[in-house]
């Protein structure tokens, strides 16, 4: 499942409000994944069974797993499997929403099944066989099916999320793109791609978010917005754009080049062309990725 989009899906379908979603995103780090949500996600139990065990727990001081086995909802093997499975971080968002009472287990189950069937994505990662489906989903999500260079944008955004997961973390929620012509920057770096596909790209965020972003990227704890923090955002965009260009070179024989990244703090991005603004919310704040439309 292309999981980072699940939070946004919940928002679009009206399962949660944006205030609830933002609060849950921020609260993920204090959230502990529970067996009920995990069992629903893995398809071992449905929401009614989970509720039934929760009710039983109120008068029977036993653990969730033991009660679920007693009631015949789980086998011992399934329980072991759940306990030993790697617990994916993205489920923490759903758990946080359930814990806060913004969404019931039943709504979580319903939304997750709908989402899986709508996009037909069942894997937790960006495995190759999922690639085409992910491209289609990105085109659908960002409503870019009919624009010029649609597949190049979809591939760009797919690689962007891949790199964000790889270098920053997977605990984010993307929001719908907006088209803008003028963008006032805060802490910002731009990088121009050149060649047959030549959009300007940019990454912008506020100073506190940047310190957290840089700490994750560099794997060290920064406390002030110094030159290393500034270098981190430049490194990230250069690395991401580099990997995109390498990917195109290998897969489409399209040879693009990059200009050096340019710092553009407290400035204004404007030009003749529109930008797609892609906001992405992490627990530490929202980062805005911008990519210029080429037509």
């Amino acid at each position: 499942m292309y999981t980072q989009f699940f939070g946004n899906y919940l928002l679009n379908k009206g399962y949660v409000t944006s205030e609830q979603l933002i609060e849950a995103i921020k609260d993920q780090k204090n959230t502990r994944l529970r067996l009920g949500v995990l069992a629903i996600h893995d398809g071992y139990m449905n929401a009614n069974q989970v509720e039934d065990v929760h009710i039983a727990q109120t008068h029977d001081n036993k653990r969730f797993g033991d009660l679920a086995i007693e009631k015949g909802y789980l086998t011992k093997e399934q329980l072991d499997c759940l306990l030993n499975s790697q617990q994916p971080d993205y489920l923490l968002l759903s758990q946080a929403l359930v814990d806060k009472g913004y969404m019931t287990n039943a709504k979580f189950e319903e939304a997750m099944k709908e989402y899986q069937s709508e996009y037909g994505l069942t894997e937790d990662d960006f495995a190759d066989e999922q690639h085409d489906k992910i491209i289609q989903m990105i085109q659908h999500f960002y409503d870019i099916k009919d624009i010029k260079d649609s597949s190049l944008y979809a591939q760009y955004i797919t690689i962007l999320f891949n790199n964000i997961i790889r270098f920053i973390g997977d605990d984010f929620t993307p929001h719908q793109a907006t088209k803008i012509t003028v963008y006032p920057t805060d802490q910002c770096v731009t990088q121009k791609i050149t060649g047959e596909f030549s959009p300007q790209t940019a990454l912008d965020m506020d100073a506190d978010s940047l310190i957290a972003f840089a700490s994750r990227y560099a794997g060290e704890e920064f406390t002030e917005n110094d030159e290393y923090v500034q270098a981190s955002i430049e490194d990230f965009i250069n690395l991401h754009n580099g990997l995109y260009v390498v990917n195109l070179s290998n897969e489409s024989s399209l040879e693009l080049t990059l200009e050096p990244p340019l710092p553009r703090n407290s400035d204004k991005l404007d030009g003749v062309k529109e930008y797609f603004q892609l906001p992405i919310t992490f627990p530490f704040g929202t980062i805005n990725f911008l990519i210029e439309k080429t037509d």
Partner: protein
Amino acid sequence: MTIDSLVILICDDSILARRQLKNHLNSLGCNTIIEAKEGNAAVELYKKEHPDIVFLDIVMPIKDGIQATMEIIDFDKDAYIVMASSVGTQENLREVLSLGAKDFIQKPLKTQQVDEIISKFLKGGL
């Protein structure tokens, strides 16, 4: 030649990337590391200090790594240049290797790749 006698030039426009590579080289026992922020400075430093190994980024302001490779090789055809770049496209790879660069590391750098470069140099560069 021993690891502690190596002179290594790192040329990258990112202060973070330079520091990370330098820290790793220090941990291997390389003590003499000189740094440049862009190609022109790298060429000047090369001529002055004759480093044993050069780690060179490609996308940089003022003078990029490809032009710098050309000028360093022009000055010393045996220069031991290792490209370290995020833009390992087929075209870049072909170009820098044909200019005489010895190796190409795709960023993000893995410390193991750096270790291999150093040990390869020490074995062959006696």
